[in-house]
Every structure is written in structure tokens, then in C-alpha cells.
Symmetry: C2
Subunit: 202 residues, 2 copies
């Protein structure tokens, strides 16, 4: 199975700007990408990085400067068999979580993200296409229904936690086991608890 | 296995006050409790409701007016075999998620919640005790380590989503399949999307 990891190599993780400067956001995004790609390798697949710009990395890269939807849908259209799309900012990813994703039955397998997102997909139906805008999980359920494909949803906390905002960093510190968590700790981030709510400070 | 569901029958879900009045919060909390308790039944266990005050419900009740920690720890100390503690506000709960929790190996099985919480526990070690304050998942890992109990963590998005704040209601509308989701829809709640973020309005 082909496994594609979309990655914004230009200006990643803009919503982390309140806590990380531009270079730091780029480095942290690369640490998360490395975690995701190496975990994909650890369960027996070779990741292809679908990047908005050419980046220096150890995995095969396809550069596509267009929007996320356009780039991913080209990959889906060109696939001659099952294809997976795994987001690059899943800093809590584990081999077990990816095994459950890749081994789930279904013509369309969806891993929901918090806030209505779709953080990972396995498409075994040639007509499945993505639409990542807004509450994409409901759109993807509808797309699958419209093409007559059965949907399986993978119930994973680790796949549901993409990292977009400062509070998301708390989940990385609480549960992350790889480079992204180590990167944050190395830059002085630590958990804080304020009136029962967990966040981070530096 | 004994399965205990702690429930605040007096003034539940105070952080939902911006969107639900006192009676509504009580009714919504009861709808979530019914979802959790009936899902526990559906996978072959009888739930015991561990309530802060006597409530009228179809499941066996133990009333304990003390703090959550004190009440749950009394249940753990009195257990003469494996015991599970499942939070009453897991409105996305499914039979599959509970099967994975109850069938997981380990002397201590933990289902993490968002923000460092611990939303469900199976204790098969007589000395395990809870401490739900602050980032309880790290405390519970430490408690298990201190008593020499192996820990298994259940990776479930559905068990990770407890419902405390207005934005949590969006997850219920996106993924809930039972009474709590129907209750919200019946009161006119619907998803909204503002600058890519999903929330709810009424």
C-alpha cells in the first residue's frame, strides 16, 4: 500500500506562532514529520512525503505546490491500489495506532481528528476523494456514501490529536514518546496546570 | 467484574453553564449517564452508579457524598476482584470502545482523557488508588509504577472525549450516536464553523 504524508514545507504550523518563532515552527514540524514517517516505516510501509516545497529528508518526496485537497486528490486518482493519507502533525502516533489504521477493513477507513478533522485515511475505492475544509469528517462520510463505499472509523486518541495550537502541545508532553516531545522538552516547554486545565509554558 | 460509574447528581457540568441552564445541565448529564450505563450493559456488565446524591434511575446506586477520589477509592478498597471505573460523561462511548477497555490485559488499564484526564480505569491490582486532580493520567501511571503494577493504556478517541465545556458539545454532535447527541439536537444545538474551528450554536 502506498502511504502519503502531506507536509507544508514553507510556513508550517502558523497557529503555533504565539509560542514558537518561524524557524522553531519549521523545526518542530520537521520533528513531527520524522515521528510520523519513521512510525510508518516501523510497521512495514514506506512513506512518501507530499510536500508543498522541496525539503531535504530521508524519505521519497513528491513536490506539489497546490492546495492540500488538489495535491492529495491527484495522489488518490493516480493510485493503482489501496492508498493511505496520514497527516504529518500526529505527534502522538504509535506503531499500534497505525497498525489499527492500516489493518482496518473497509473500502474507506477514516481516523477522525478533534474538531471534526480527518487525520488519516485508507482508500481502497478508486473514486474516493478528499475535502479537508471545515468539518471534513462529515464530508468524508458523505463522499464514501455517495460512491457506495463502506466506511470504517478507527477509534484512536493518538490519531485524533493533530498539533495545531499551543494547548495541543500539552498533549504532546503528556503522551508523546518520540522526537517532537523531546524537541519541546529540549526547548524548555513544560506542563502547567491552571484551575484544573492543563497547558504549557516555557 | 464490577463496573462503577461516578455521577454528580447535585450540580453536574457547571462548566456548561454558559450554554445550558441548571435543569438542562442536569438532564443532559442524565442523558450521558444513560448512554454510558446502557453501553456498559450492552457489553455484558452491570453498571453501579456511584452518585453524590440519591437519584432515580434504573441501575443499582451507591450514594457517597464525599469527594470523587474518596468515593472511588472506597470502591477500589472494597473490591474483591477486578473493578472498572468509567466516567459518566463519555457521550461518544461505543460498545467497541468499552470492549477494548474491559478486554485489555494489564493489572492497571487506563484510558486517557483530553487534557491529562483519566476517563476510564480497570484495576486488577488490590493496591491501586485514584487521584483525579489535575493531570491525573501522569499520577495514575506513577501510582501503578509505585505498586509494581503493569500499565496498559487504551488508545480510544471515544473514551478520551469527556464533556465538560461548550466546545466539547461539538464532538457530541459530530460523533455521538445515542441519547446525549439526540438530546442536544432536540434542544436546537447545531454545529457552527468559524474560521475553520468547529463549535456549536443554538
Amino acid at each position: 500500500m502506498r502511504v502519503v504524508v502531506p507536509f507544508d514545507g514553507r510556513d508550517p504550523k502558523t497557529r503555533l506562532a504565539p509560542v514558537l518563532d518561524t524557524d522553531e515552527r519549521r523545526n518542530f514540524a520537521r520533528a513531527m514529520l520524522a515521528d510520523v514517517a519513521s512510525t510508518i516505516e516501523s510497521v512495514g510501509f514506506e512513506p512518501t512525503i507530499l510536500a508543498t516545497t522541496d525539503i531535504d529528508c530521508e524519505w521519497p518526496i513528491v513536490v506539489d505546490e497546490r492546495s492540500l485537497d488538489a495535491a492529495v486528490n491527484d495522489q488518490l486518482a493516480a493510485a493503482d491500489g489501496p492508498i493511505a493519507v496520514v497527516m504529518a502533525d500526529l505527534a502522538l502516533v504509535t506503531p499500534d495506532a497505525l497498525d489499527r489504521l492500516f489493518e482496518a477493513d473497509g473500502n474507506v477507513v477514516l481516523a477522525p481528528g478533534r474538531g471534526g478533522g480527518t487525520n488519516a485515511i485508507v482508500a481502497r475505492h478508486p473514486d474516493f476523494r478528499v475535502d479537508y475544509h471545515e468539518a471534513s469528517i462529515t464530508d468524508h462520510r458523505a463522499v464514501a456514501r455517495d460512491i457506495g463505499a463502506g466506511v470504517t472509523e478507527v477509534d484512536s486518541f493518538r490519531l485524533a490529536n493533530d498539533v495545531d495550537e499551543p494547548d495541543d502541545l500539552a498533549e504532546v508532553l503528556l503522551h508523546g514518546e518520540c522526537q517532537a516531545a523531546a524537541w519541546l522538552r529540549g526547548r524548555g516547554f513544560e506542563l502547567t496546570i491552571d484551575e484544573g486545565r492543563v497547558s504549557v509554558q516555557r
